[in-house]
Symmetry: C2
């Protein structure tokens, strides 16, 4: 089966991006979503709030792509520039859309506010477009068709754009252009570098059939692996991707902590909730970052009892019962110290499991024996204390993040090894 590759261009409108006031995060999100349904993004262009410039950009994009997605320039303070420009571009009149106005009224009533004339303007749209309902705001999405090309205009507010894309634009694009069936499955790993993973799975990767592709998506301390399968038969693809996933698990399963969009902190959260275990945390070099990431999860109070940021050695000694002679002879960054910290916080806060970390975050404070980047982590629980030494980088921010992730991964492995 061969299918014409569908191309898309993204045009973002707004001076905020061109003066560097905001970073355009919308385009990357849109590009990733389009990729997942087999549509390739050919170009992303950011242009100014200027009718001539917008029309020139639309013209150029229509020569290169089948789909043109436009974001931004729709707020009431923008004087509806984009909307009027689109009406001119498509040779269409602006008309008052009753349904759209009813939607605006509903939103305002829900917030107990009155509809002003400026809001009434938001219900005016080019006559030739199909309005796409925006559940998150007052500016509608607008779908235009012209000579085999599809143009969609959306607001630039990220959550409004995302909601419109997911509920309206992506399903409509899939139906309009017979896009191939594309399946993705993403595996999240922690603690192993990209090149190491690549070497372990090289043979398997080389043997993948051509319609199955593997992508490496690295970030600090983590590497995501994504298998994408494209074809025309959903069931066959599902079967293939499932078989390949099994093989991948056999090769590197112990490094995969979750699939999809679940962060490590959320995976730990779920494990503790499902096992009904409580957690306490004693942090030194991470300064509260581990506890902060755990408590980002709504509902963390079900299992997280509390944490201690024992930055000064006095706190380690007085409140976590790390013996003075350990701190003096072995130092705060030592296996013995984190063992005492982990057992100390677990006993004091009376929890089922605990984490403790101590390290040299840098940039100063390193010695020949204990360089910047040296970190000790301990996990304590019913199965006893587990400790591990790590050597991270020279950068403070990176060391804190690597320590946080490594500690969460150690805890997760500890929980999963419980009988």
């Amino acid at each position: 089966m061969t299918m014409k590759q569908i191309h898309c261009e993204i045009i973002t409108i707004g001076d905020e991006i061109l003066i560097g006031q905001i970073v355009d995060t919308n385009s990357a999100w849109m590009a990733a979503e389009l990729n997942k349904i087999g549509i390739r993004v050919k170009q992303i262009s950011s242009v100014s709030d200027d009718a001539g410039h917008i029309i020139a950009a639309l013209d150029l994009a229509a020569h290169r792509a089948d789909i043109i997605l436009i974001t931004g320039g729709l707020g009431p303070t923008k004087d509806d520039l984009t909307k009027k420009t689109l009406a001119a571009y498509f040779d269409s009149l602006m008309v008052f859309n009753r349904q759209q106005f009813a939607h605006i009224e509903r939103i305002f009533t829900a917030f107990g506010r009155e509809v002003t004339p400026i809001n009434r303007q938001q219900a005016e749209v080019p006559q030739c477009c199909t309005c796409l309902p925006n559940e998150m705001g007052t500016a509608p999405g607008m779908w235009f068709e012209k000579k085999d090309r599809v143009f969609v205009s959306m607001p630039g507010v990220p959550y409004e754009m995302k909601s419109l894309m997911q509920k309206e634009v992506l399903p409509r694009l899939k139906a309009h252009f017979q896009t191939p069936v594309i399946l993705h499955r993403t595996f999240r790993t922690q603690g192993v570098g990209e090149s190491m993973l690549a070497s372990w799975i090289e043979q398997w990767e080389d043997a993948l059939p051509p319609h199955l592709k593997l992508a490496y998506l690295p970030s600090v301390g983590e590497v995501k692996l994504r298998i994408s399968a494209s074809g025309d038969d959903l069931e066959i693809l599902e079967q293939e991707i499932s078989e390949q996933s099994q093989q991948l698990y056999q090769l590197i399963g112990k490094h995969i902590y979750a699939e999809g969009e679940d962060s490590l902190a959320l995976t730990v959260h779920r494990a503790l909730v499902s096992k009904g275990l409580t957690l306490s945390i004693a942090e030194s070099c991470t300064g509260g970052a581990i506890a902060a990431s755990i408590t980002q999860n709504a509902g963390a109070s079900a299992y997280f009892i509390g944490g201690m940021v024992s930055y000064d050695n006095r706190i380690k000694a007085d409140f976590l019962d790390v013996p003075d002679d350990v701190l003096e002879t072995k130092g705060a960054v030592s296996e013995a110290a984190v063992q005492y910290m982990a057992s100390g916080i677990r006993k004091k806060f009376e929890t089922n499991v605990s984490i403790a970390v101590s390290g040299v975050a840098g940039p100063s404070g390193g010695t020949d024996e204990k360089p910047v980047g040296l970190v000790w982590i301990a996990v304590d629980g019913a199965q006893g204390i587990l400790t591990k030494q790590f050597r991270f980088a020279k950068d403070r921010e990176r060391n804190i993040e690597m320590t946080r992730l490594s500690a969460l991964k150690m805890l997760l492995d500890y929980l999963n090894s419980e009988r």
Copy 2:
């Protein structure tokens, strides 16, 4: 004095951006820096690793702008596509550049690695360009001139690009195009909304001379105000901006916590270091986020003794001495509870000052009396305990961030009011 407005276009090259694997943060940074020297960015385009597409983008950009800045597509694994494409575009041969090769050798020697043939390739550049030394990596910046237009190619690695921009590209652009003298001064405020600030300074803002512009730069919990002055006499502009700043301080001085790039956590850090005071923190709803932001500052160990994340009420009672009857009758989110938490941590950890926060972060856990977003903050020190109630939003992440910033601002005000 009238000066021709100089326009720039930014072209980023690389499939990583078009498949949504990375967000293009380079362009916003570059646009902000160009703006500061009076150069306006006309368009930002992201194009694929494809010679034809790159040349088309260069051609279009050269019709619209005086300066074309290109990033990305220069790594050794990219097969030097951008470099060869630029050579073709400028009708130039690729030549081996001795100086560039010596630079690559120096970098490799410093890392104890050997120069491979692929690295030798990185010393090949189009004959017609001026090489700009890249102190942070092996790919050079390349400066081209063609018919009044300047083209500069840089690597896409953010710290390499930034270093090249600051040390080479921006100074050269200033010299090449007689850009106006532009001065900026940025004032950072916390805890007041944009519209509130705008109403307080409306008269002053309206009276600003036309060559002085004010910009509002809002983010969660903070608003930055930036005065930009453009002209041709540096001394006069400095004088003007200083006079206007004085007036601004008279109007909203107590809300300005710092100028320039200094974050609130860094400002608190500096105040504690300069006053020689120690700090402890008791956190409930922020779950460690305040301590984590304080300890992001290198050298925080000079004053930060430690923190307690008293998530469970048991920890508030047993380790911070919040009386059981306060927790029972008034609850953990109450003025009395945060007062006890602040004085408890300060006494136990023996510090000069302390912060305590307790609130309903959400999304659940709210009641009619104590809705999601209700937060109490206390600061304790030699001048006694200060408490304040806040009502933030419905969103958990936002509530945590607003609480963190508000607590740091309360501490800063407390420190600054000390005699």
